[in-house]
Symmetry: C2
Subunit: 349 residues, 2 copies
DNA sequence: GTACCCTGAGCAATCGATTTCGGACAGCGC
DNA sequence: GCGCTGTCCGAAATCGATTGCTCAGGGTAC
């Protein structure tokens, strides 16, 4: 019967309890009386309302509340590729933190297509999400500038912009890349290559610049052909880039890949052509995605605290939304070079 | 100035165009006039409204619309673990299909915790998502029965219930498991073990039963100790289960793992103890997650069309929501045994 | 020339919850 | 007994869009 057509509303509860809807709202939200500073409700009324709500199985409508309060307790999250384990982990971290603070996440997979990103941005704003978590590395800077100008709350994950007022959670890509090169140099490598990430991403650029700084700092061979730019942060792009590098005159004894997926693509390609890692070529990745240690050989890589980045990003955004003080606008998470089996001293020929 | 405090509403547009809000609504939704069956609007009015909307940068409020229409164009998606690449792929497929049809997805990671599942279920219904995509294999059957009784639309992904009226997208786990055992039998194995998935999941049960059916069908050794139940569909659980199996008297020459993560955990463990795959032990997984072919050795496994399952699930649910005819209540997707390097004939000792 | 029809568009109710304002009534002091 | 303070709760506006009903006016048919 009550399972009829329409949901049970606050008015139904009010009728059932014999009070006014506004009273129900106040009781359920544990509000003080309007006039009193902090007067509790008449216990008897309170009980009646609670009992009625319970009896009717009342569930408030988040939509109606959102309309009235002009906030949805929803965050939009833009990622380039949910299948990349790196982003899966960030999402999980963000989702955990959001749930804990009462927010939900609408997931948006942009596939790095600007068109699709634009669509999502429009949809998310029509839905009035309270804020945005942006892990999409390719998103144009002026799109972000647009958000900033409108004062639409957002946090950047694993990327940053020139603007130092933007909230962001990042790692020091430059320093980590230098450290990678230092490790390879210490092993005795002098010809260290780099499969760079797309140079329209900040991570791609920062890591390449870090690589270059390392090469100069350690006095390694510094030749343009030692750097190849991959089309994407993916296995296929890694395979393809390595193919190009090996076809050229570079002849590196070690290669620093801009991320783990690129490194995995390289491993794959090297296996195909019968080359041995690290014997013929040492390989270093970036991110330390969950399976990096399970590969053969286990991948030496830079560990990025993925879950923690997601958690920190969500908290940062929600702090902003709720007007809490924000200690640091740009959070830099620590990285750590994880030495595994894909790097070794170069063979002396 | 118009960037003021409140968003621009349909009333603003109406004022700007010198018409009534209802007219704006009708024009923007391309509605026919109320009385006419299909009369177009006065072109001039139409233009005025469109121009005004454009000039003001009007964006409709999805919330207000949802409240009025009692539909949110939002789907809730429950997955046990977004970091499992299997689910990442399903999510991506679902998300793609949903976007295409105008829906968004609220992602919910249950971690297989019933508590958390319950919380999500409550929140999602308060938010009045139009329907649910449930890929959470552990969700209790009576929770699902509850949804069914309330006629809350949902689709099960990669699991099913006894009820044949529930919408579901599945694979034939039983048949695939038989095929796996057949493959191993054909290679000459007679002692084939099984690391079963949790037996409170339908996939775990179906695969175990299929394994048993295969063992009987091919006349292989049929001993209880050849089957160990893993605590979860995870690497850790796989490691742990294998440890138990190897400590016992089972001595299999091949093991069928209930999914790829379990198989990966086994590979990891075997590497630790210096055993060779497939020389010492052949291993077969299930799902064919993206990295399965990149492991060393590349994993023989059952390919489940993950993206396609997500896509099909979303379409099925939306068809239901929009009242379209549904051809098959339970969609069974095809599987394929992918032979790679982790299986070979047993060594003759 | 009148009655009727049809088209284009306004009016107002509605979706469900929140919140400001203010009213009713009880208790207390003088 | 009157007025004052204070407690508890009701009335009504509001958030923004949709839609059934209604109405005005022009055209048409007889």
């Amino acid at each position: 019967m009550r399972t009829a057509k329409t949901r049970t509303t606050i008015t139904d509860v009010a009728t059932e309890a014999g009070v006014h809807p506004s009273t129900v709202s106040r009781v359920l939200n544990d509000h003080a009386t309007a006039s009193a500073k902090w007067g509790a409700f008449a216990p008897e009324t309170r009980q009646r309302v609670l009992a009625a709500a319970d009896r009717l199985g009342y569930r408030p409508s988040a939509i109606a509340r959102s309309l009235r309060l002009q906030r949805t307790l929803t965050l939009g999250m833009l990622v380039p590729d949910i299948r990349n384990p790196f982003f899966s982990s960030i999402i999980k971290g963000a989702e955990d933190a959001a749930l804990e603070r009462g927010y939900n996440i609408i997931l948006c997979n942009s596939n790095d297509e600007p068109q699709r990103e634009a669509t999502y941005l429009r949809v998310l704003r029509e839905r009035q999400v309270d804020g945005l978590l942006i892990a999409s590395s390719q998103m144009a800077d002026d799109t972000i500038a647009g958000l900033r100008e409108e004062a639409f709350p957002f946090v950047l994950l694993n990327r940053a912009t020139r603007s130092t007022e933007d909230l962001a959670v990042v790692v020091d890509n430059h320093a980590a890349a230098v450290e990678v090169v230092g490790h390879l140099a210490a092993l005795g490598h002098r010809r260290v290559g780099h499969i760079a990430g797309p140079q329209n991403t900040t991570t791609g650029v920062d890591r390449r610049e870090g690589y270059r700084a390392g090469v100069l700092a350690y006095g390694l061979d510094d030749e343009p052909q030692l750097v190849i730019e991959a089309d994407a942060f993916s296995e296929e792009a890694g395979q393809q880039a390595l193919r190009i590098m090996l076809a050229g005159p570079a002849r590196p004894t070690a290669v620093f890949a801009a991320n783990d997926l690129i490194a995995i693509g390289m491993l794959q390609r090297l296996r195909e052509i019968g080359a041995h890692v690290p014997g013929d070529l040492s390989i270093v990745g970036f991110n330390d995605i969950p399976l990096a240690g399970l590969l053969e050989p286990a991948l030496t890589t830079v560990r990025v605290p993925q879950l923690a980045m997601g958690v920190a990003g969500a908290h940062l955004l929600i702090d902003r939304l709720e007007g809490r003080p924000i200690a640091e606008v740009r959070l830099t998470m620590p990285t750590e070079l994880v030495l595994r089996a894909s790097t070794a001293a170069p063979m002396t020929d």
